[in-house]
């Protein structure tokens, strides 16, 4: 769960480490405690900050769920937020690529 922020708007201090998880993104975590910090898109440097870093998720409202059909069957997120399937998520972010 993450909060989108504008590219370049976040200043990071401390023991963050990143892992390039795909061609388009890297994941940040704390080297000292392993806490999830962000999901960052490489093309613009924008950080989607882990919602758990903030008290009460900074009061944010859940708007959209990606890869919703891929969620393990044991749980589902309640609510009427937008839910995109794997295919819809990929189409949203990589519209020029061949569909899987």
């Amino acid at each position: 769960m993450s909060l989108r922020t504008d590219p370049g708007s976040i200043k990071v201090n401390g023991t963050a480490k990143t892992f390039r998880s795909s061609d388009w993104a890297e994941r940040g975590f704390c080297e000292i405690c392993g806490s999830t910090l962000w999901y960052g898109t490489v093309h613009d440097g924008a950080l989607n900050l882990s919602a758990g870093l903030f008290d009460n998720a900074a009061g944010a409202e859940m708007k959209i769920e990606f890869f919703a059909d891929a969620a393990p069957k044991g749980y589902a997120l309640a609510g009427d937020h937008k839910k995109l399937t794997t295919q819809e998520t990929i189409a949203l972010f990589a519209p020029d690529e061949d569909a899987q």
Partner: protein, 162 residues
């Protein structure tokens, strides 16, 4: 009923095989689990002796409270386990995040704890699991003691874990 299962972190440096895997998982909304995972810890509890890990040199650990430690992959940051270290009735098992199983399906949510600490922004659908507030947890699990909210009191412990 239990079964065997395998899993790994995102980068594959750490892999595990487990026996005696239950069909249920629990959810914890305490502040430590919230910060660590970004949402909540969805965990499958397995007897320690039923777990075999590969790539242990890639596991970093931290004693995050008086009673438990957490482990993650040094390379990709994937959360690997929560383990009670305090001797007593709650030691002897390892809690594995649901999502790192190769097949995370087939598990049923049996309990959801620290429910009063859950952020307003999300909730899990469905019914049937037992929900416990922080107070109910502290009363039920004596090892929680006074449950300090300040996770920075933990100490770092790099290297191989049991």
């Amino acid at each position: 009923m239990t079964r065997s299962a395998v899993g790994k972190c995102l980068c594959g440096d750490v892999r595990f095989e487990a026996q005696d895997v239950p069909e249920t998982f629990g959810v914890c909304h305490c502040e430590m689990c919230r910060r660590w995972t970004g949402s909540a810890l969805l965990e499958v509890s397995i007897p320690e002796q039923s777990l075999v890990r590969h790539g242990k040199e890639h596991i970093a650990t931290r004693q995050t409270s008086e009673w438990a430690e957490r482990g993650w992959c040094r390379n990709c940051g994937t959360g690997l386990f929560y383990r009670v270290t305090m001797a007593g009735e709650w030691s002897g098992s390892v809690d594995i995040p649901l999502g790192i199983f190769d097949d995370p399906n087939g598990f049923v949510m049996s309990h959801e704890i620290y429910i009063d600490f859950k952020p307003d922004s999300f909730a899990y659908a469905g019914e049937g699991r037992k929900q416990l507030t922080r107070q109910q947890c502290v009363e039920k699990f004596s090892l929680l003691g006074n449950d300090p909210a300040d996770a920075s009191q933990g100490r770092i412990d790099q290297g191989e874990t049991t």
